[in-house]
């Protein structure tokens, strides 16, 4: 049937177009931007963790302990941030 054939060909063409668009979107927002995004995400979480630890230490007077704990928690949070945004990029 010519009509069926046309339909399948249309489907194939549509699929090709959508694939092409996906590919374009991935490459468009330049790699510098994405690389910089990942690095700031890692650093900012560590900074926030350290600041929270510092504030807790200041208020409770337990000098090094909270800053130590929250520094490492911040590192973990940074790594989860990076993994999450890398997963988002792969979508």
């Amino acid at each position: 049937m010519p009509k069926d054939q046309f339909k399948t060909r249309l489907e194939i063409a549509k699929k090709k177009i959508s694939k092409k668009n996906l590919y374009d979107n991935k490459n468009n927002p330049s790699s510098i931007g994405t690389a910089f995004k990942l690095s700031t995400e890692l650093v900012s979480a560590v900074a926030v963790g350290t600041i929270i630890g510092f504030i807790f230490d200041k208020t409770f007077g337990t000098k090094p302990w909270f800053i130590l704990i929250f520094f490492f928690v911040g590192v973990v949070a940074g790594i989860t941030n990076v993994i999450r945004s890398a997963k988002n990029m792969q979508k």
């Binding site: 927002p29 931007g33 700031t40 929250f70 928690v73």
Partner: protein
């Protein structure tokens, strides 16, 4: 470096302990806002079927931002179009005005970008609580985590949530400042090497100017798109 100095224009105005006098930073913010208003007023004045250049510019940026919002945050984010559009335009124009020699780059100061980012952060959090009530706190409790690990995970999630405004602001500020500093350094090489060896750094600075224009656009785009992503988290709660 003198290009990053903030200095007062006109009289000193003080409210309590705060110095709110008019500076060159405020001057360039006003210039970029006025430029945006002018372009969009002129662009939407005459709705001809064959657009002239300004109308084309306005329409292109409108469709660009509207498509970006639709792709990242879905149709639920439509009411916030005006905010994201003006945010994108403001950051873009501040970055671009900074590329003109002898101007001041507003976004190369962390306090400006941090205020923008914390405004977005607070706004998104408020929207999330309005839309979902206390259910918004589920954002911090990922599903399928054993109860033993839960306290640790919640702390990690809270830190990663709080790190959003910082990563947003540091990214824009660092990109702009690093680019301008690099151009300054290469310009200094041109002067110190003189007419004999100055041609190489001069060609580098020409290339860097092109790169900087790209970065200025890209950072405004990233700033807006991350706002959309955070808005998406607040509107469609699925974690």
């Amino acid at each position: 470096m003198t290009q990053f100095n903030v200095h007062r224009i006109g009289p000193e105005i003080k409210v309590g302990a705060f110095d709110i006098s008019f500076t060159n930073a405020s001057l360039f913010m006003i210039i970029s806002s006025v430029a945006i208003l002018l372009i969009f007023n002129l662009g939407s004045k005459k709705n001809s079927l064959l657009p002239n250049k300004i109308q084309l510019l306005a329409e292109l940026s409108y469709t660009f931002v509207s498509k970006m919002i639709n792709d990242t945050a879905g149709s639920k984010a439509k009411p916030y179009f005006a905010f994201i559009f003006s945010l994108f335009m403001f950051v873009l124009f501040c970055n671009m005005f900074g590329m003109i020699p002898y101007t001041f780059t507003v976004t190369s100061h962390i306090i400006v970008t941090f205020i923008l980012a914390s405004f977005i952060f607070i706004g998104v959090t408020v929207i999330g609580f309005i839309k979902h009530g206390f259910g918004y706190l589920k954002l911090f409790v990922p599903s399928g985590v054993p109860a033993v690990l839960l306290p640790l995970i919640v702390v990690i999630e809270i830190i990663s949530y709080l790190s959003r405004p910082i990563s947003l602001s540091v990214r824009l500020f660092a990109n702009m400042m690093a680019g301008h500093t690099m151009m300054k350094v290469f310009g200094g090489f041109v002067i110190s090497l003189g007419i004999v060896g100055g041609w190489l750094p001069l060609s580098f600075s020409v290339a860097l100017t092109g790169l900087e224009i790209l970065v200025a656009f890209l950072q405004a785009y990233v700033f807006a798109i991350l706002t959309c992503i955070y808005l998406n988290d607040a509107l469609n709660l699925h974690h």
